[in-house]
Symmetry: C2
Subunit: 200 residues, 2 copies
Amino acid sequence: MGGISGVEDVLMGYIFGKKKATEVAHLVWKHVVQKGDAVIDATCGNGYDTLAMLKMVADESDRFRVYGLDIQKDALENTTSLLDESLNPNEKELVKLFAICHSRMGEVVPKDSSVRLVAFNLGYLPGGDKAITTMSETTLLSLEAAKKILVPGGLISIVVYVGHPGGREEFEAVQAFASGLSVESWICCEFQMLNRPLFI
Amino acid sequence: MGGISGVEDVLMGYIFGKKKATEVAHLVWKHVVQKGDAVIDATCGNGYDTLAMLKMVADESDRFRVYGLDIQKDALENTTSLLDESLNPNEKELVKLFAICHSRMGEVVPKDSSVRLVAFNLGYLPGGDKAITTMSETTLLSLEAAKKILVPGGLISIVVYVGHPGGREEFEAVQAFASGLSVESWICCEFQMLNRPLFI
């Protein structure tokens, strides 16, 4: 756990424009994820989320697993570099990276995995080619896959950047997906900045 | 201040369905409001928000002020009863209640007031006549009035219940208002539960 003061700092920092959306996401993860869990970073990007979730699940055992996916070779290279710098050999062994679309997570994550978190960071690769973005159609397939993989009590975490062509449509598709989930089985919480057009 | 543990309890409690939206609102107020401030409860309802904000601004001085508005006589009677039970004579003296529409707040709040919070609880009076609701048109007038009254660094807090005819339209009007505020001058943060249709 990041500690109680982390909640205050991060959430109020985000509201007042001093913290990033991903930091709020990490905060929520910490309330759900436990040591030894299996977790999925559906969109590795530069690997910061992959590393953050590894730190939340890693313990002395060999039970924990982090599955990282990204369709872009650059993204997985950046993620690998970051992990190489930051992880011990046991941790590195238990992170599995796959150069495939997030919609195919069901193919690479073992069937008996107890996955407690599937995280998405939707948009383009920061520092990469902004023309390559996640897209509504595959994102919706991924969300369906994530629903099937998660254990009860698990979390689907989605940070959406809308500042690219198709970004607003993807955001609306994600909203519609979440709005349609059964209220008995799912808690769907949305947090957004209304007047920052490029970043929600 | 409600204390750091309050942030953790209330926000995570809300996400996980154990705390009310108004409790989250109070939490944000506490990060903005100071002892001695003038504040406005634009929609007194049964007075719980009026009381909560009084407790945040009241000190030993006679500087602080709480202005409470509600168009319904029942609401102001309930608010008065609650305040009578809960306040000392000095505090009671500095709460001013007005039986007018919130859109007319500019008429009753003295021009030289340094108002740091204007709070809205939109929908119907809990326990009252559900046919009497706030409405988009007057709500937008009120938001414009609130913008003019607030000091720099002040907060407009809006909790919206959409579970009544016109509620969804009012919510969208509020969203559009917030989305249109200048990003240089305003931070507009929205927090909602996507799959609880009657309560956001």
